[in-house]
């Protein structure tokens, strides 16, 4: 029975990747494209982690602190596991749609819980593998393992996801508990998630600082032992230290067991108890009449701000963009002072660099991409209403522009002011930002229309999975990386030329996609009815 449950959970996870395709040909194409993207991503991670590990291995050899290689890898992989699985944990354990169906069957609740945990553990292992495996291979090649080191490396690899899963269960539980009692669920969920994530990153960062110090061989090892868990993992893997392995295992197994024990005992209560919320009584209509188009835009905005998953997965670039701009603004004066006379020579690059920051961070904004998939089973409302498909598509685009433009422009202004960019160049920087925001919106909408995913049960699937989301993010990132490369070269000739590279191509492509959307795109939207 447990085997069947685990099998169904895993097949459901994979099925969600290719759902929404009406025939075998489309399914094959979508699967092929997804595999290609996964291969690219895995190759990218393997290469990046391999390169980093290679450098660390040589540094470790010079300083004798070889464990730093593994300490870094464990820090990065645990952050990736936590960030990558926390929402899956929240939806799988606490908000799963099939809880009631499964509970009505003669299945012990413990089995339901275990099957979900095993599926989540597999996600954690996958995420961990892309970081840890290249590191372990590089270590073996460059440094070579101690007799016990290799075995302990495997043990640490197998144990680490238990800790990240326990942490993500705890965080997801706290978020679900608080959110279920409060009316403004989305705001609370987003806020708590950011707080937990920043807290965790701070923790990792402070330990990472020690690791950074190891690289410079400037720190006393006895002090490093106080960094606990990550150091013990590194020490066990690199030096085959039994004590470090035991301490690491203790730190992983005890909290994992406690979390498992508590959740197992409370599982039925958690999934069957409905928290009472304050009922809002309707007291007359205060809504004003809007135009059909205005109402469509308002609907799109309402959908965005009602979903924490949508905000965090599709609008995170906005937050990162502003955060990065503020960070650069604060640290820029020190940097300028440090550069001294060299700063004058580099000044021609400053407007280009300011644009790069906003453009690249903005490419992570995918507000328009899942907007068509999110119609899901409610698509009939728009398709049976007397609305021109062009208005529907443009409303989705407007929502993207309304959400992304102000913060991107504010970030550009902050950077221009902090870096002392003159008014003329500042205007060009803002133009580059506007052009990139328009491009990401159009590109995302185009892919969302071409590769929609309607048969989701949980909106996370529409927001996070599928070719449209992957293609939108990595496609626009790749496009902007190429532009940044070309722009950088041209900036050596002229600052304006460099900036024009960031302005013109996205604007031209946006115009091309716009022309498609208002013609063929409308037909494509009409034909979504046959899916």
């Amino acid at each position: 029975m447990l085997k069947t449950l685990i099998k169904s959970r895993i097949s459901a996870m994979f099925a969600s990747m290719t759902q929404g395709k009406k025939n075998k040909k489309q399914k094959k194409l979508a699967t092929g494209l997804l595999i290609a993207l996964f291969v690219f991503l895995i190759a990218y991670f393997l290469f990046a982690m391999g390169a980093m590990s290679y450098g660390l291995c040589y540094m470790g050899l010079q300083t004798g602190d070889t464990y730093a290689v593994f300490t870094m890898a464990v820090i990065i992989s645990s952050a990736l596991c936590l960030f990558g699985s926390i929402f899956a944990t929240k939806t799988q354990i606490f908000e799963s749609k099939d809880n009631e169906l499964l509970l009505s069957m003669p299945i012990p609740p413990k089995y339901i819980f275990i099957s979900r945990m095993i599926a989540l553990l597999m996600i954690n292992y996958l995420l961990e593998a892309v970081v840890m495996l290249p590191c372990m291979v590089m270590y073996g090649v460059v440094i070579g393992y101690e007799p016990l080191g290799f075995i302990f490396s495997v043990v640490v690899f197998l144990l680490l996801p238990f800790l990240t899963l326990a942490l993500s269960c705890l965080i997801a539980w706290v978020i679900s508990e608080i959110a279920s009692r409060i009316r403004n669920k989305t705001f609370v969920t987003v806020f708590l998630f950011i707080v937990f994530f920043l807290g965790y990153m701070y923790l990792c960062g402070s330990i990472g600082m020690y690791a950074g110090e190891i690289e410079d061989a400037m720190v006393d090892l006895s002090g490093l032992k106080n960094t606990a868990l990550f150091y013990w993992a590194g020490d066990a893997m690199a030096n085959g230290s039994i004590l470090s392995l035991l301490l690491f295992a203790l730190c992983v197994i005890v909290p994992a067991f406690l979390v498992y024990f508590v959740l197992d005992k409370r599982f039925i209560y958690i999934i069957t108890t409905k928290k009472s919320k304050l009922k809002v009584e309707y007291k007359g209509n205060s809504e004003r009449k809007l135009s059909a188009y205005g109402s469509l835009v308002k609907k799109e905005l309402r959908r965005f701000f009602s979903s924490s998953a949508y905000i965090m997965n599709a609008g995170l670039g906005n937050v990162l963009c502003v955060a990065f701009a503020i960070f650069i603004a604060i640290s820029s004066q020190d940097l300028i002072a440090e550069l001294g006379g060299d700063y004058e020579a580099l000044k021609r690059f400053v407007p280009f660099i300011a644009s790069c920051v906003c453009v690249f961070m903005g490419s992570m904004n995918l507000v328009s991409t899942p907007s068509i998939s999110l119609e899901g089973k409610s698509l009939w409302i728009l398709q049976s209403a007397p609305i021109n498909p062009k208005d529907i598509l443009m409303a989705k685009l407007s929502c993207h522009l309304i959400i992304c433009t102000p913060l991107s422009v504010i970030s550009a202004i902050i950077l221009c002011v902090a870096l002392g960019v003159n008014v003329g160049y500042s205007l060009l920087v803002i133009l580059a930002v506007l052009s990139s925001v328009a491009f990401t919106g159009y590109w995302g909408l185009f892919l969302g229309l071409k590769f929609p995913k309607f048969d989701w049960q949980n909106e996370n699937v529409a927001v996070k999975q599928g070719f449209a989301v992957f293609g939108s993010m990595f496609g626009s990132m790749l496009f902007f990386m190429i532009l940044l490369g070309v722009g950088f070269i041209l900036t050596t000739i002229s600052t304006i030329l460099g900036l024009l590279v960031l302005i013109a191509p996205p604007a031209i492509l946006s115009a091309i996609i716009h022309s498609y959307l208002v013609n063929g795109g409308c037909v494509a939207f009409e034909n979504l009815k046959d899916r």
Binding site: K279, E281, Y282, N285, K289, L296, K299, S384, I387
Partner: protein, 246 residues
Amino acid sequence: MLKILNLTKTYGDKKAVDNLSLHIKAGEMFAFIGHNGAGKTTTIKSCTGLLNFDNGDIYIDGVSIKDDPIACKKKLAYIPDNPDLYEFMSGIKYLNFIADIYGISTEERNEKINRYGDMFGLTSDLAQSISSYSHGMKQKLAIISALIHSPKLLIMDEPFVGLDPRAAFLLKEEMRKICDEGGAIFFSTHVLDVAEKICDNIAIIKDGRLVISGKMSHVKGDSSLESVFLELEDKDSTFGKEWDNA
């Protein structure tokens, strides 16, 4: 008001609707009956512009849905079998969204929201999120949103599923009223008693093909609709028999 001419719709090799023709006149309440998978929902979705079809045409008040879908959609309202509404909205926000789409004035929408909200006992819940609604409440909200723009043609797929007895009664009353005021209603149902009691005309479909259609009294004769339906379901060779205007 609604004219379906030689409608054919295929899914792959399967003909879901095969050369179906029906005519629903103004003032008529028309029931559409058939077994599960007979092609009722496909026909209804084709009429509302939710589905492309392979052959034939559909006219709403004389306008082809192929030629001018927006003009057709302005005249009709559709209530699906499963009311999948915008769960991120509250009931009142959803109704205002629909009212905006159909360009209903503030006064008119307020009057209708209050009237239908009170009628179906939903007014006090209108500020709640639709995600907290039961199936029946969602169905009531879908009905109110359909009635809010006074459609000339009301197309419904299994409209009584999930409704409590009082709401079902009120819906029947409202349906009669629409027809008495010159509108038309085309709906599918498995509740044969309801169809028998309230409908003027009926069509029975089997495996995508029209088995019989016409005035209720002519179709059922002296028997009950249930026995006629079961008898026709068992037969294979009575396709296309039309009793209309008999």
